[in-house]
Subunit: 126 residues, 3 copies
């Protein structure tokens, strides 16, 4: 299970915002084989982003997931994100990705249950 | 000390937004025994959330806290959040909680001081 | 490389928002010696912040960086942030800072490459 947060600067069209969100989701399906319906995204349109290298195009993707991935596991989604976001009009220079990890006990996906530790779901990769 | 971030989709009434924020705070007081005045919440109303299972009701709660909690310590706030948020009109299916931990040296609550390591405050649980 | 997220309550003037963003960036240049052009900031103006000790002035700074810093390394930016933000009109009581760390393999700064592990950039401090 993954939670993704995408920060962009206010001003994009709804269609482009949606295309970017779809490209992010499809990248994770391609690479990490998450189920298509596991779509947990926060799309935030911020006041501004202090990116020196761009004026308004920056897209910052935070991937929140469980520990246990190898370095190679992490590199693949970066590349796929760049490719799929290019098709949504995002220049590679504007794409910033950062991953943060925690444990199986740190997630509750619904109903206040800790699905991984209460046995409702198998921990991925175990 | 806890920092909580609540992401919701834009469009809720101010009253409902406030009821949700209050329910989150009360859950943490109930379960984690934080002092009533330690209320550090970010309430973000986002452009949209790519939740497949809902259209507009999703509430994502991030709990940022220090390491040292057991798995059982973490499960209890999830359950209490679900109960208290139900009273604020949030369906359990729309509640997503995730916890992230760091250390005592990673917090400054005021005035640029690192209160736990400079001796202003005792580290919780120690 | 650092990513900074600054959450403030909606309602500040663009000039003051900019002064705060600049003060944060300058603090990190002063203390952590990051290159001037490495400015990666998310500036979020939120619906509200449940801070008991203030009504509208709260500024929450999240510093996302790589592990390897000492406790002393972390204390210095807190103090400098408080000093520089005071000059931008932010009361020390309203400043909340929290740091989160991950590894060199957790960052892609452009083009879908993991610059630290693919050899494009040296890992800071190594």
């Amino acid at each position: 299970m993954l939670l993704v947060r995408v920060d962009m600067i206010r001003g994009r069209s709804p269609e482009n915002t949606r295309a970017i969100a779809d490209a992010v989701q499809q990248s994770l399906i391609d690479v990490l084989k998450i189920p298509e319906r596991d779509r947990f995204q926060i799309i935030a349109l911020d006041a501004g982003l202090g990116f020196e290298r761009t004026t308004s195009g920056a897209v910052i993707v935070h991937i929140f997931t469980q520990h246990g991935s190898t370095t190679r596991d992490k590199q693949r989604p970066y590349r796929t994100l760049a490719q799929r976001l290019a098709a949504a009009g995002v220049d590679g220079k504007d794409l910033f990705v950062s991953s943060f990890e925690n444990g199986p006990e740190d997630w509750s996906f619904a109903d206040g249950r800790a699905q991984y530790v209460e046995g409702d779901l198998a921990v991925p990769g175990h």
